[in-house]
């Protein structure tokens, strides 16, 4: 999230698209409502279903799942055609003026794809910028050159007319225009608009581009960096922001440092290749500090006893271009690649797309460790529906962990706010905190390597672990020590120049906490486990524990409540909330204000704002200093283009001959996926599965229900798997509310209770009546009544019905992130248990 939850109250228009906060982030509605009550803000909700959020919105527009880029592309056209963009912002703070390689071909002139496509992969040679002899990007400040980003943008989206968009999305044209008009009203300096999105945008084969389209709109309207603006990624778990920040993904080390690949043999190669450079004269290019953050991370892994070079070599490298993400893991697992598997605090047997494949895959490993609070469909997969335990070799360890009120530590919410939690009660039974469990495994493994040796043993035996103490056979993990490790230390006595005041020096002692990441060093004299959290622990204590109530700006920044990364900044990119002379675009909502007397910024911690009038472009995380309307770094195109979901109800993409995202990896191709990976309705519509199906959440459950299904209050309120459908579809299928139905796809089926509502309406898609159904994804067999029980099994106090929605979803991912397309796939629904 660029801004934070309380900041919703500062918005004039709130676009809810790709999310349903009233149901899924319910307390956030407090601040949405505050904006309505206090500012007269307007709420727009765009969703295939008339959700609880839609019910509270001023304007609701339905759209067919998977057509968001068409919808938003039409909005870009509307903004440009009607000159509703924030011209000064666009000119100075985005790459609108950059000149692009004249050889670039846009989809409209190239059969629906950008230039450079071969075998599902883009050669991005023609996507480059024109550069002068000094290597500086050529620009046209008048924005009139036909090859400048602004003109290309106009040309690209000129195809997204309201007529075409309406035929694709099923959104009535008058509704489209109403949404465009209202949202585009925030393009004025004194207006703010925010978009709230969640998995409704990420879980598509064009997920990254869905979000990019909105970011581009926000840039055109000057809505990034300001109070009440931004793009709000509302995440699905209490700490999924924090777990991502800390690199629990194959492609990133903590702090978004890209994982090294084999071609970068030495630390020097890695630093050279991965540190962005720029010739743009006023650009700060913050990532030029990469070497410091890498050194800090390596020190947090191996301390000072190993050289930085050796620490780099010891750590695992990826193959260039290879993908090790979720869908690949379960594909490889199914094909017997792994002997061991950790499912730690996760329930992939329900949360993984194509859960049938996941459940089969779990039977192909020799051993699995599953750590959780409750018995779950993953740990017990071997005794699930259709499984014969006597044929399943997997040795399973199900380890009980302590709950969040039984231990201490911190989590980071969507607003990047790190808050501390305290231990209230003893651990349940013999459960232990995750930190104790992983430490104990680590020390046992370390001992084995010390005794017996093994390949690259030093990578394990030399790893530092000063995170608690041994007591007998147990290890007690101390989160406060780890919080300090994440922040970072000086590892030797050192005097360094103040990074913000030239000529001023400060001396540090070995063991001193590093004040902020600006003080980190590239020579190994400082450590920092995750540089973006540097500054979270200081001599004042662990700042995420703070409970201060002060709000001097009145904007709800609450800068003394807990701590947010980076450097306690509450609204990132806030340097773009002021004009070139440092004046806030909207003085009534000033995030930062220049105090000429003290020569410093006040309000929020400034981001990228140089001294007024110095000409520093504010988007300092981009090498060129400006935000990207044109994004040549992505896998599937520098501008978002509408492509149909892989499984879709239409024969053709009405915008081009290219039906699906050309850069996605299909698992049904020879030599790619497995025999279980089947799709329907790809080349042509498949009458067996005529309806669009989408997954969603309800307030009363969380994720796969792995915790909430065991809580009787919640299980009573939402007792089981249902399928929601329109009255028209129900009539066609002879289904009534309460009937048992079977929802099926090319991959599996799930028994659901029918809920017939007017919340779904058939779409008119280019003259065809198209139906969409929806299913929640919180259920699983372990808490059902009719499963077999063994002696000693836990039995849910209130049973739920039905199994996982993901038994239906396909193995297909976004072209950039490989997040599965769980929000649009083709299904059938019939009455009865079939």
């Amino acid at each position: 999230m660029t801004n934070h939850w309380v900041d919703f109250k500062n918005a004039d228009v709130i676009l809810i698209m790709g999310s349903n906060p009233a149901s899924n982030h319910p307390v956030s509605w407090k601040w949405i409502q505050e904006a309505v009550d206090k500012r007269g803000a307007k709420i727009i909700c765009v969703d295939p279903r008339f959700t609880q959020s839609a019910a509270k919105a001023h304007l609701y527009a339905p759209l067919r799942s998977g057509t968001d880029i068409a919808f938003l592309g039409g909005m870009i056209k509307y903004i440009l055609d009607n000159k509703l963009y924030f011209a000064e912002y666009v000119k100075n703070y985005t790459n609108a003026s950059f000149l692009v390689n004249p050889d670039l071909k846009l989809p409209g002139e190239n059969n629906g794809v950008f230039s450079g496509l071969t075998d599902g992969k883009y050669d991005k040679g023609t996507w480059s910028y024109q550069k002068g002899p000094d290597d500086v990007i050529k620009k046209d400040p008048m924005l009139s050159d036909p090859h400048c980003v602004f003109q290309l943008l106009k040309k690209h989206y000129s195809r997204y007319t309201p007529d075409v968009v309406s035929r694709i999305t099923g959104t009535p044209k008058d509704k489209l225009l109403e949404v465009y008009k209202l949202y585009a009203s925030t393009g004025k300096p004194n207006k703010a608009g925010v978009d709230l999105y969640a998995m409704g945008w990420t879980q598509h084969t064009v997920g990254t581009q869905n979000i990019r389209t909105m970011c581009m709109i926000q840039l055109l309207l000057g809505n990034i960096g300001i109070a009440g603006g931004g793009v709000a990624a509302m995440r699905g778990e209490s700490n999924v922001q924090g777990s991502t920040d800390h690199g629990l993904l194959f492609h990133i080390w903590p702090g978004y440092l890209g994982t090294p690949t084999g071609s970068l043999a030495t630390l020097k190669d890695f630093i050279e290749k991965r540190t962005p450079k720029t010739k743009e004269k006023d650009s700060l290019n913050w990532w030029k500090n990469t070497p410091k953050y890498v050194a800090g991370f390596l020190r947090s892994m191996y301390g000072s006893d190993m050289t930085l070079e050796d620490a780099y070599e010891a750590l695992p490298k990826l193959d260039d271009g290879a993908n090790y993400s979720w869908l690949t893991i379960f594909d490889q697992m199914y094909k017997g690649k792994f002997t061991g598997f950790f499912a730690w605090g996760m329930n992939p047997a329900c949360s993984g797309a194509h859960s049938n494949k996941v459940r089969q895959a779990l039977g192909k490993v020799d051993w699995m460790v599953n750590v959780n609070l409750f018995d779950n469909e993953t740990g017990s997969f071997w005794r699930g529906p259709g499984m014969d335990p006597s044929k399943i070799k997997t040795e399973v360890f199900m380890l009980p962990c302590a709950s969040s009120v039984e231990k201490e530590g911190s989590i980071a919410n969507s607003g990047r706010l790190q808050q501390w939690r305290y231990k209230a009660i003893p651990y349940y039974g013999d459960s232990k905190p995750d930190g104790d469990i992983m430490s104990e495994i680590f020390f046992k493994v370390k001992k084995l390597y010390e005794k017996q040796g093994g390949p690259n043993a030093a990578a394990i035996t030399k790893m530092t672990w000063p995170y608690g103490k041994h007591e007998g056979k147990e290890f007690h993990y101390e989160p406060r020590k780890v919080a300090a490790e994440i922040n970072g230390f000086f590892l030797e006595d050192k005097t360094v120049e103040n990074p913000t005041k030239k000529g001023e020096f400060k001396s540090f002692k070995k063991g001193d906490l590093v004040p902020t990441f600006a003080w980190l060093q590239d020579d190994g004299s400082t450590s920092s486990g995750c540089w973006i959290y540097c500054g979270s622990v200081s001599e004042k204590g662990i700042l995420p524990m703070r409970r201060g109530q002060a709000d001097p700006t009145g904007l709800g920044l609450y800068s003394e409540w807990a701590w947010s990364w980076p450097v306690n900044r509450r609204i990132i990119y806030n340097g773009a909330s002021v004009d070139l002379n440092g004046k806030p675009w909207d003085p009534s909502r000033a995030v930062i204000t220049w105090d000429a007397k003290e020569e410093k910024w006040k309000g929020d911690v400034p981001d990228g704002a140089g001294n007024p009038g110095k000409g520093r472009p504010p988007f300092i995380m981009k090498p060129d200093g400006v935000a990207s309307l044109y994004g040549p770094g992505l896998a599937d195109g520098p501008f978002p283009e509408h492509y149909e979901p892989l499984e879709c109800p239409v024969e053709k993409n009405l915008l081009s001959p290219q039906k699906n995202n050309p850069a996605i990896k299909r698992f049904d191709k020879e030599g790619v996926g497995s025999d279980m990976d089947v799709y329907s309705g790809v080349g042509t519509c498949d009458p067996r599965f005529p309806f669009i199906c989408s997954t969603y959440r309800v307030s009363e459950h969380w994720q796969t229900g792995v915790l909430t299904r065991w809580c009787p209050w919640l299980a009573e309120m939402q007792p089981g798997m249902f399928v929601e459908m329109s009255q028209e579809l129900a009539k066609m299928r002879g289904i009534e509310t309460g009937d048992k139905c079977t929802v099926s796809t090319a991959r599996g089926k799930v028994v659901c209770t029918a809920i017939v509502t007017p919340r779904f309406k058939p779409f008119d898609i280019d003259g065809n009546e198209i139906h969409e159904i929806g299913i929640p994804w919180h259920f699983g067999w372990i808490t059902t009544k009719d499963r077999p029980f063994n002696k000693g099994d836990k039995v849910a106090e209130v049973f739920t019905t039905g199994d996982a929605a993901n038994l239906l979803t396909p193995t297909i991912g976004d072209a950039n992130t490989m997040i599965p397309e769980s929000k649009a796939f083709m299904a059938n629904v019939v009455k009865g248990v079939k």
């Binding site: 629990l248 090790y324 499912a343 040795e395 399973v396 992983m438 390597y449 959290y533």
Partner: protein
Amino acid sequence: MNVSRRGFLKISGAVAAVSGLGISLKSIAAHARELKIMHAKETTTVCPYCSVGCSIIVSVRDGKVINTEGDPDSPINRGALCSKGGSIYQMAVNENRLGKPLYRAPYAREWKEVEWEWAIDKIAQNVKKSRDASFKKVNAKGEVVNRTEGIASVGSAAMDLEECFTYQKFLRGLGLVYIEHQARI
């Protein structure tokens, strides 16, 4: 007993830990149902469910959670909670929690309760066996990659930040590259 809500927190030690930050401890917005939570020790927590980050007061008497309610001091939720956040009590007090490490032997039909030490020992041996058998010093191109190809991990956003850092350290130290979690789905 007439102790303010902040008074309870002070007694619990939760606020004592931050009092060095120069923060006022005086009651701000609290109106406790004091009878119900009399003589209880209070600590604060943050809801483990969605990503809004609502603060919750946990009241404990005799080592048992007796009440949970929204924390009125949190600028995010100002005491409000949704149906899930309001049910934290049932996550804390729940006899269906797993209380013992469980082990399922290959081809077995049932779980068996085991001791931690036995489980950790066996897991460590498995890790070593899988790692040693699948470790790749160099890849097909002859580049040094130092990775363990035979073990994968998913998890977890359900852990604390500190544990996430430590877990990635554990996995990368072992040489894993197949490291994923909830953020990818």
